[in-house]
Symmetry: C2
Subunit: 250 residues, 2 copies
């Protein structure tokens, strides 16, 4: 398996470079784009790739080492750590009907469609090899003309062949599967967390780099639990909130 | 009603001053500490209060104006806007028993107890006047010695009198009310959103300024719906996540 490190361009100094590098590498490591055991390019190479001096690169690497995401090995280089520390998950449940009724607001717009090597998290979900080719389409949902969410959808190549450009500009994942494939999605799991916007997310959502975003990783399964689609959705933090109502049992 | 503007000290340049000022003022406006219609100090006064030049102050004010949180009035000054734009709330439900079983991890530590003028959101919840005196105690929850959440608890003065320092160092809100007042809390509502850490939150949670935090505003009510406590909880974004499982109805 060949993993190339392709950095996203940094934003023009809105936020210090080291902080942008930390945010970007953390996302790539946690999402498996930079898999466990991968040797990072050295400081000088990273500085060239990001187009910055070695100072912010060194600072970013030492912060990620302190967080346990990178491991320096003397004389050998810096490696992606085995397992990032596990967070506490608070488990909630709901219905797909409710999800859909709230998810139909605004308008979708297709930004791109590509074939890419599957990152680890995506490959694990679909049960394919990391790096195997998979389809990625990126979309923006806007409400009243203002960007609301930036959505990356991953599906198998055999699946994407059934979607027309028109459908991709109009339908959410559940409706795409229903209309284009006749498949009813039966189980949706969402992992919800707070993130800071990196330069790509910030540009797409018209917010500043390092502004808060709600990151929602969504796993779609059909009736036998078969994996059908994975979406990574970034919502503007000021526009997307949850309200949790707790009552006593009975 | 007299509202004084007391700025939190900015952090020492980890993140640009203008961004820290935006984050701080946004929080104060959204939480009602700076109420609608309040006239802000002018640029020069704000620059002095924050201990910075006018450049970052001017940039922060124009960003908050663009977001509709501040309104400039020619020749009169800059005012806090009437109503911040409403976000989309995604409503979920759960049980208090489940919440408690997950909320008992780690150890609490009392940081401070104060009497303060109630901010608008707090006053509205308790049905008192904005600015009336209320009790605020701030606590840190640590798990395995690492800060996990920074909690601000607001209760009425008559309530806090029943809590001992020992209890405040040990018990969560539900257990404080059960043990010290014999009151069973029956309804808990949480508003959950992504935020960027300001300098105070960052210091308490041992994270960088502008790192992601999950902000959970929690409203506690007893059996007749009577307001008993309000907590504002900031969780480290890398340690606190939600998992939402959606299935079809029936």
């Amino acid at each position: 398996m060949e993993v190339k490190f392709v950095p996203t361009p940094l934003s023009n100094r809105t936020v210090p470079y080291y902080f942008q590098i930390v945010t970007l590498l953390r996302r790539k490591i946690e999402e498996g784009d930079l898999p466990s055991g991968l040797k990072l390019p050295n400081e000088l190479e990273l500085a060239k790739l990001f187009g910055v001096s070695r100072v912010p690169v060194r600072r970013a690497l030492s912060m990620l080492e302190a967080d346990g995401l990178l491991v320096p090995q003397r004389g050998r280089g810096t490696f992606v750590a085995d397992v990032p520390p596990a967070p506490n998950y608070y488990v909630l449940s709901g219905t797909i009907e409710d999800y859909l009724s709230r998810n139909l607001r605004g308008t979708l717009r297709l930004l791109s469609m590509e074939k890419i090597p599957a990152p680890r998290v995506v490959a694990d979900f679909f049960g394919i090899e990391t790096g195997e080719t998979i389809s990625l389409f990126r979309r923006i949902r806007a409400v009243n003309g203002v960007p609301y969410s930036y959505v990356m959808n991953y599906v198998l190549l055999a699946t994407v062949a059934h979607f027309s450009i028109k459908d991709l500009n109009e339908l959410n994942v559940v409706n795409l599967f229903a209309k284009c494939l006749g498949v009813s999605l039966q189980k949706i799991t969402q992992a919800i967390e707070a993130r800071s916007a990196d330069s790509d997310i910030a540009a797409q959502l018209s917010i500043d780099v390092a502004s808060p975003v709600m990151c929602v990783e969504t796993f779609f399964r059909s009736h036998r639990g078969s994996p059908e689609a994975l979406s990574r959705i970034f919502y503007r933090g000021d526009r997307h909130k949850y309200l949790l109502e707790l009552t006593r049992k009975n």
